[in-house]
Symmetry: D5
Subunit: 93 residues, 10 copies
Amino acid sequence: MQFLVRMEVRLPHDMPADVADDLRARERERAHEIQRAGKWPELWRVVGRYANVSRFDVDSGDELHQLLSSLPLFPYMDVEVTALTVHPSKLES
Amino acid sequence: MQFLVRMEVRLPHDMPADVADDLRARERERAHEIQRAGKWPELWRVVGRYANVSRFDVDSGDELHQLLSSLPLFPYMDVEVTALTVHPSKLES
Amino acid sequence: MQFLVRMEVRLPHDMPADVADDLRARERERAHEIQRAGKWPELWRVVGRYANVSRFDVDSGDELHQLLSSLPLFPYMDVEVTALTVHPSKLES
Amino acid sequence: MQFLVRMEVRLPHDMPADVADDLRARERERAHEIQRAGKWPELWRVVGRYANVSRFDVDSGDELHQLLSSLPLFPYMDVEVTALTVHPSKLES
Amino acid sequence: MQFLVRMEVRLPHDMPADVADDLRARERERAHEIQRAGKWPELWRVVGRYANVSRFDVDSGDELHQLLSSLPLFPYMDVEVTALTVHPSKLES
Amino acid sequence: MQFLVRMEVRLPHDMPADVADDLRARERERAHEIQRAGKWPELWRVVGRYANVSRFDVDSGDELHQLLSSLPLFPYMDVEVTALTVHPSKLES
Amino acid sequence: MQFLVRMEVRLPHDMPADVADDLRARERERAHEIQRAGKWPELWRVVGRYANVSRFDVDSGDELHQLLSSLPLFPYMDVEVTALTVHPSKLES
Amino acid sequence: MQFLVRMEVRLPHDMPADVADDLRARERERAHEIQRAGKWPELWRVVGRYANVSRFDVDSGDELHQLLSSLPLFPYMDVEVTALTVHPSKLES
Amino acid sequence: MQFLVRMEVRLPHDMPADVADDLRARERERAHEIQRAGKWPELWRVVGRYANVSRFDVDSGDELHQLLSSLPLFPYMDVEVTALTVHPSKLES
Amino acid sequence: MQFLVRMEVRLPHDMPADVADDLRARERERAHEIQRAGKWPELWRVVGRYANVSRFDVDSGDELHQLLSSLPLFPYMDVEVTALTVHPSKLES
C-alpha cells in the first residue's frame, strides 16, 4: 500500500543542543534503515520548513504506524497521512 | 526542480456526459505525454476523492506552470504546489 | 486494513426529485452489497447532517477506492479517509 | 446512544518519563474497564498520530462525559464528539 | 438529553418567492409543533444572519435527527450539533 | 439582551493542584452569584471538553464583559460571544 | 450598545445589471436613512473587496438585526457581528 | 489613511503580576498619547476577550507600524490590519 | 505606500468563451496602463493557479481600491490586501 | 526562479534580551549578505506584525532552502513559500 506522509518537526526551544543533535543523528540512522528496507521510496524536504513529504510503500496501515512511531523524532512531529491508490492515467514505468 | 502538486478536480454537475468524457480522455492523453517526457515521475490517486498527489521534476516554476495549465481539466482544478528540496536523510538510490 | 470514512452528500438543489430518488435507491442497494461482503462493518448517520461516518475493512487502499467510487452518490460526496491501526488498549473481543 | 469520539493526546514535553508511564498504564486499565462494561465497542489508533477514533455506546451524553473525564489522560486530550444515529442503509447485523 | 444546535439557512437565489414563502410558512408551523411538544426549549436568531442557535431536549440522538430532518428547510440548512451535559456549577432552578 | 457565550478553559499544566482547586472553587461561587442575579439562565458543559456553552441575559454588552471578566478563570479562558435576538418562530412560553 | 459589523456582498453573476443597479440604489438610500438616525456612525469600504466594516450604535441586538435585515442587499451578504464595550484606555472625546 | 486594527493580547501565564501591571500602565499611557495626537479615533474592547478593535487615522502604513510597535504590549499581541477606504454610501458627517 | 495584493480569479464555468476572452483582453490592457503609471511594480503569476501576487506602490488605500476596482476582472476576483512598510534589514537599492 | 516567501518570527518570551539582540544583529547581517548577492530583491515588513513578505530570485528550490535555513532566526520562524512564474500581463521593465 502507498501512503503520502507529511511530517512537521517542532523541537522545544529549551531542548539542550546535544540532546537535539543526538535525536537527529538517531533519526537519520533510522530513516536509512527504513529506506534500505524499501519502505520509504520518496523523501523530500519542504522548502523553508523543518518538514518533509514522503511516500511510504508498506504492507498495511499497521506497518506504517510502526515505522512512523519508531522514528526518534516522532514525539516531536505532527504527522498527516493520506491513503493513495493507483491513478488511472499513470503509465507503467 | 522537484514540486509536490495536489490537484482536486471539480466538474460542474450540469456538464454533459460526453463533454466530461472528452475532457477526461484528453486529460489522460496529455498526462501520458508529460510522463513520457520524464516530467511527472509520481502520480497517485487520493483514496476517496477525485484528486491526485504528484511529484513533478521540472527545470523551473515556469515550466511547471506551463505543464499544469496545458492539462485539459486545469480550468476545473484546484491546484496546490509545494516546492521541495533534497532531504539530508535521503539515501542515494 | 481499517479505514474511518466520512461521507458528506451534497445534491444540487435543481436535481429533479425522481433522479434523486433513483440515485438514493441505487445507493442503498450498493451499500447493502458492500455490507453483505463484510467490507463495511460500521455505518452511522451524523445527527443533523446528510452525512455518515463509517469504518471499512478492506484488503487495501485500492479496494477502498473502488468501493467508494462504485457508490452512485459518489460524484456528489465529499469524502475524507483516515487510516486506522490496532489500538494498544483495545481488548480482544 | 452512539457517539463518534476522536481523542488527540498532547503530553507536555517536560513531563518526567515515569509520570507519563504511570499515566499511560492507568489509562490502559481504565480503558479496559470501560470496554468490559460494553460502553466502548470501537477503539482504533489513527495512523501516524498519538490519537484514537472511537465509538461509545452509552445511555446519554451525561454518561459519555463521565466516562471520558474519568480517563487519566483526559487533562491532556483534545476531544471531539459527534452524535450518531441509525443509518437508513445499515443492514441488520 | 440536551443538544446545542446551530442551523444556518441558505436558500438558492433563484428559488421563486412563493416557493420560499411556502417553505418558511411550513417551517414555522413545524417549529411550533416541536416547541409545543417540549422538545425545543431554546430558539434564538443570530444577529445579522439567517441562522439560529437552539437547545433541544430529546430522548436520544435518534429523536433529534428525526426532528431536524422533519423541518421543511432542512435540505437548505447547514446544521451543527454539540452534545451537552449538566454543568457542575449550574444552580437548581 | 441575550448572548450565546462559549467558554473554553485551558489551565497551564504546571499550575499547582491547590491553586487550580482554589480557582475552581471561586469560579463556582462567582457563577452561583451571577446565576442568582438572573443573568446566566443557561449553563451547560460541552461533552468531552473543559468547556461550557451558556446564554446570558444582560442589560448590555458592557455588563456582559464585566460579568465575564469577573470570573476567576477568565485569564485562562478562550471566550466567544454571539449576539442573539428574538426568533420569529419562537412561541411565547 | 456598540457593535462591529463586517458585511461581505456576493451578488450572483447571472443577476441582470438593472436588478443589481436597483438593489444598490435602494441599499444606498437605506444606508443614508440609518446613518441619519445616528445608528451607523462608522462605515468604511475594505480595500480590494466588495465589503465594508462598520460600527453600529443601537439600543439592543434586536434593533441591530432589524436594521441589518432591512438592507436591500441583506440576502446577498455574509454578515459577522462582534459585540463591543468601552475600552479602559479610551480617552473621553 | 484609515486602518481597522484588531489587537489580541496574550500575556504569558508565568509573568509576575507587577511586571504585567507595569506593562499595562505604560500601555495605557502610550495609548493616551496616540489618541491625543488624533491618530487613534476608535478604540473598543471586544466583549469577552482581552482584545480590542480600533481605527487608526495615519499618514501611511509606515506610521501605523511605528505607532503599533511603540506599544509596550506589542511583543505580546497578535495584530491584524485591514486597509480601509471611503465608502460610497457614507454620508458627510 | 506599499501593499501586497493577492488576486484569485474565478470565472463562472458557463461564461461564453468570447465574453471571457474580451474580459481578459481588457484586463491586460488595464494592467498595462497601471504598470505604465508606475503603480504596479511587482506582478507575478502563482504557479498552478489562476492567481497573481503583486506589489502596488500607491499614494493611499483610496487609490489602491480605485485601481483594483477598475480592473475588468474585479467582479470575479477574490482579493486580499496586506499593508507593507519598510523593513529595517532592507538595503538601499 | 522567483518565490514569494512570508516569514513570521516568534521568539520565546523567556529568551534573554541579549540573546535576542545578538540573534537579530546576526540576522540583519546575513540578510544584507543575501541581498548583496542579488538573491533577495524584495523585502518588506508586514504592518503590525513581526513578519516580512519577500521575493527571492534563486537558481532553484535547493538554493532557496539553503538561504532560508542560513538565517539565524530560522529556528524561530514560520515560513511559507509560494512558487511564482512570469505573469502574461507583466510589462517588460
